[in-house]
Symmetry: C2
Subunit: 301 residues, 2 copies
């Protein structure tokens, strides 16, 4: 890891993201909507997407306290949180446990969960366009465009639609990859792309190598997710284990078997690391991204 200690690098960044998210969602809010939003997004999750934004921004030369990178980090976590709130609802996956807590609709009711998810999505775009002049409008517009395209009907939401439509069906590996490229991969790739967009003037070649990194990492993340759904228990996962299999959802494990899926994840991580090398950026600046890649593949929840 080129001398980088990931936990030491992460701690202050995680604290900044948590503080900024908290500051953006006031508990005092119309009909306690803010309370449901805070429940959904604070004190939970690995914050992988925000960390990818921040690590990528630093890789391309942003200061460690860049407001643009912090806004983008918070925005992508708000989008991720909204998608989980809606995904857990009874008409979707109907799940009751998330991040070790009752899901939002269990805690606050379905209507409030629907609104909290809606408002978390909106908040993401609000955070990307701060009223203060702290971020170049060019960077603001670029990040909004990247995040909207990654999370809309040709991105994350489209992937969820495929997921819903494919329950009980046998997908080919290509179809499964396409589903995950949209459902999970688009947002992970977007984390990397927004991080790079926080610094104007990054060369197309570096941007392309970073995008290849983001794509490989996104797919690796999903393959590992499928592996963990089979090998981990609910307490470790903080969500219901085995639910993909129970719901007869197509997974990499179902498609290729457990051992092959593990090997595939390792191979994707190699591709991701090679893409980082291909950026030609100094090793010291890539250390956090390399460490995050290792964390994605070696995680147990």
């Amino acid at each position: 890891m080129s001398g980088l200690h990931l936990a030491t690098w992460m701690a202050p960044h995680l604290a900044r993201v948590e503080a900024a998210l908290s500051a953006h969602i006031q508990a005092q809010s119309p009909a306690a909507l803010g309370e449901a939003m805070r429940y959904a997004v604070l004190d939970g999750g690995k914050r992988l997407r925000p960390l990818l934004v921040l690590a990528t921004a630093e890789a391309v030369g942003a200061a460690s306290d860049s407001p643009a990178a912090l806004n983008a980090a918070c925005a992508i976590e708000a989008i991720h949180a909204y998608s989980l709130v809606h995904d857990d609802m009874p008409c979707m996956d109907n799940d009751v446990l998330r991040r070790g807590k009752p899901t939002v609709h269990v805690q606050f009711g379905e209507a409030q969960a629907l609104l909290a998810g809606d408002a978390l999505q909106t908040l993401a775009f609000e955070m990307l366009t701060p009223a203060s002049a702290s971020v170049d409008p060019l960077v603001q517009a670029a990040c909004v465009g990247l995040l909207a395209r990654a999370s809309g009907y040709q991105g994350m939401a489209g992937g969820q639609a495929i997921d819903l439509a494919s329950v009980g069906k046998r997908l080919s590996e290509d179809q499964l990859r396409q589903m995950h490229r949209l459902k999970t991969g688009a947002l992970l790739l977007c984390s990397v792309q927004m991080g790079a967009a926080c610094v104007p003037g990054v060369s197309p070649a570096v941007q392309a190598a970073l995008s290849r990194f983001g794509e490989a990492l996104g797919l690796a993340f999903q393959v590992v997710d499928d592996v963990l759904d089979v090998t981990a228990d609910s307490a470790t996962l903080g969500k219901t284990a085995g639910k993909d299999e129970a719901a007869d959802k197509p997974t990499y494990v179902a498609l290729m078997g457990l051992e092959a899926a593990k090997a595939y994840a390792a191979q994707l991580a190699e591709t991701a690391l090679q893409s980082l090398t291909d950026t030609g950026l100094p090793d010291s600046r890539l250390a956090a991204l390399r460490a995050l890649t290792a964390m994605v593949v070696q995680r147990n929840n």
Copy 2:
């Protein structure tokens, strides 16, 4: 109306909005999600918000074919459409009829309706940040900031949360006004503000007068809505009539009586028209906004 014939002014604008929305939502999409989105947003509705955007942009000097104004017009309609899709869902108002058609969840199922609403919200922000260089990034960022603030938990979504929490309760006129200021008013005001933001350099005084116009018009719209819920039938409304009363929702009619509510709407329209005069903009440029104000108060659906 200073010689303006509203229908003649509206026709080409409505055609441009319809064409642009259609072009932005490809029917070929993951798991038919685009189909549900198109069903929700095309061929329906009065398009009041887009028309307000376009009329305001022209009032402050935008060309009638301004790409910035067209994007903002489409974006606010996408937000409006998403809010209707989610608002109609069983966990919210549980409504089956909208714009004379079965609601989206009746037609496509709840899960697809949830995703279609989500993706329509995202699309709004995608449309505000076109990949082409057709719109100044400063204008893009300004419009995203306005739209996000108007539709989030301190705007439209917050108003819906209050609405949900107030069923069966007796609200004061102040509380009712606050609910509608957020639930309906915020988006109508935002239409005017985004229109003004499409032309950089509009003076603060003109912006303030336009905002007063937007606030008064927004409140007038809601009062008329409450009146129509009582006086019109479902066929004319294109949605279920009498549902506020049936759901024991607080309305202006319930609070002040039918005749007083009608008089209040007329008074708000006067305030709106006076605010337009206060802008000091040439009468010829204000004609469309004046005509739209009359349309809001005199509509029968």
